[in-house]
Amino acid sequence: MTTTTTRADGPPRAALAPITAVALGVAGTASVIAAWALVVAAGWVSEASLPAPWSVASGLPRVLSDGVFLDGLADTLASWLAALSIASGSAIALGVLLGTVPVVSRPLMVAINALRSIPSTTLIPVAILLFGLGQSMKIAISTYAVFPIVLINTLYGVANREPMRVDAARMMHWSRLRVYTHLVLPSAAPAIVTGIRVASGISLVVVVSAELLGAKSGAGHVLIRFQQALRIDLAYACVILIGLVGALIYALLSALERLTIRRVHLV
């Protein structure tokens, strides 16, 4: 049974069944890989810069089984998670507390927006100076990068709570704490989760950037070593794996986001 959707330009069109969608996705991806193979085979780009798909593919299992890489990946993910947690925790707390006070929340948004204009990766040298080249540096800079995003989303979510519900809560003589935990936080939850999803992507980018720009550990660092050793096929494989990790994180958090939004809006 197909669902029909009417479009302005004519007769209703059937929505795609999931199996078709997957098949099309595979076809599309295959076409890109084919183009890649073509470019290499035709010799438009040197093998040193762009290895053939099959050599990268054979590099994948080798990188995956490399203990050094796995350690690096674990390090990266640990830093990523730490930064995300610290930033989110503090940003949500601050946002919920201050978001209900317009006299502070508005200028705070201006300040945060200004801070966001400053590329976080710029401050990597500073972080290196303050924290050295270890994991704490990566966590610090990633927290700095991610904190404004979650904060802004929290402020936004809090600002959009429904006034009528606040009045209802007041009439029921809810305590301050209760208002925060049972009203403000749940209604801001969708915006907060969206913020965390965006932040997760950026956190990964910043951590990997920090690794590439000097940190002595992590997946990015392993990547550099591959490139410096001129094992470009392994470097590409490494990039692809990092990308897959990123894609996985994105998919998980998007699912979480959908769940939260669905739940809250049913209330």
Binding site: T4, A8, G10, P11
Partner: protein, 258 residues
């Protein structure tokens, strides 16, 4: 230009889920006639108009303009939609919106300016060219939509409940406006409405549709004198009779097909 609707029907879905919006319907509209199409909700009147406009393909039958079957929006036909808020382009000025109607005609700049001026004059919106739709009231916006239909200098104007979204007083003014335009431009008009008074007031002939499933119940000629007047015409006994006739047909409970 003469319109012939020949056995046109529209069914959505297939098999057991089939939903017949309109059963095979046939009628003709003569040159310069003003025909209104009226009926309860669900009778398929808007669907019928969309098929006449070439914006929807019929499941069976065809629409003929001067004996030529149409296949998509045909030349010489302009459409005025109900929701002017969504039918005018808000990022364009009134002038630009009007000009959109003639892009396919490749007019010279002078010709276009002339047509725009004439159209705006006919809808009584002279001087509003540089304004944006959101700067105008609802009634004015609908007049712009009508002007846009006129700029193309069509032979046929199809209007889909064009006054449903405006208040009653504005509607009266717009009804008379459309009558004047019909005379000024010499167009054939087919207007869909759910307002029974309006259907009789405007028409030379009323097509009454019924629901469950949608079908043409009957055609009623309206020999009221012209020019029509909101006060004088509606005072006439003939108006009351015609109105009652249409009312009875529209309000009848759903029965098995005739």
């Amino acid at each position: 230009m003469e319109i012939a609707v020949d056995g046109v029907s529209k069914t959505y879905g297939r098999g057991s889920a089939a939903n017949p919006a309109l059963t095979p319907t046939s009628f003709t509209i003569a040159q310069n006639e003003f025909v209104t199409i009226v009926g309860p909700s669900g009778c398929g009147k808007s669907t019928l108009l969309m098929m006449m406009a070439g914006l929807l393909g019929p499941t069976s039958g065809r629409v003929l303009l001067d004996n030529v079957a149409i296949d998509g929006p045909p030349r010489g036909v302009s459409v005025v939609f109900q929701d002017y808020g969504r039918s005018l382009f808000p990022w364009m000025t009134v002038e630009r919106n009007l000009a959109m109607a003639t892009v396919s005609q490749r007019l010279s700049r002078r010709e276009l300016a002339g047509r725009i001026e004439r159209a705006l004059r006919n809808v009584e919106l002279v001087g509003q060219e540089k304004r944006y739709p959101w700067q105008l009231s609802g009634g004015m916006q609908q007049r712009v939509a009508i002007a846009r239909a006129l700029v193309a200098e069509p032979r046929i104007m199809l209007m889909d409940e064009p006054f449903a979204a405006v208040d009653a007083q504005t509607r009266a003014g717009l009804e008379d406006l459309v009558l004047r335009i019909r005379d000024a431009y010499g167009v054939t008009v087919a207007l869909v409405t759910h307002d029974i008074d309006e259907s009789v007031y405007l028409a030379d002939r009323v097509l009454v549709l019924g629901a469950g499933p949608g079908r043409l119940l009957c055609e009623i000629a309206v020999p009221l004198p012209t020019p029509r007047s909101q006060i004088e015409t509606k005072r006439l006994p003939l108006f009351a009779d015609l109105r009652a006739e249409v009312f009875q047909l529209v309000m009848r409970p759903r029965e098995s097909p005739l």
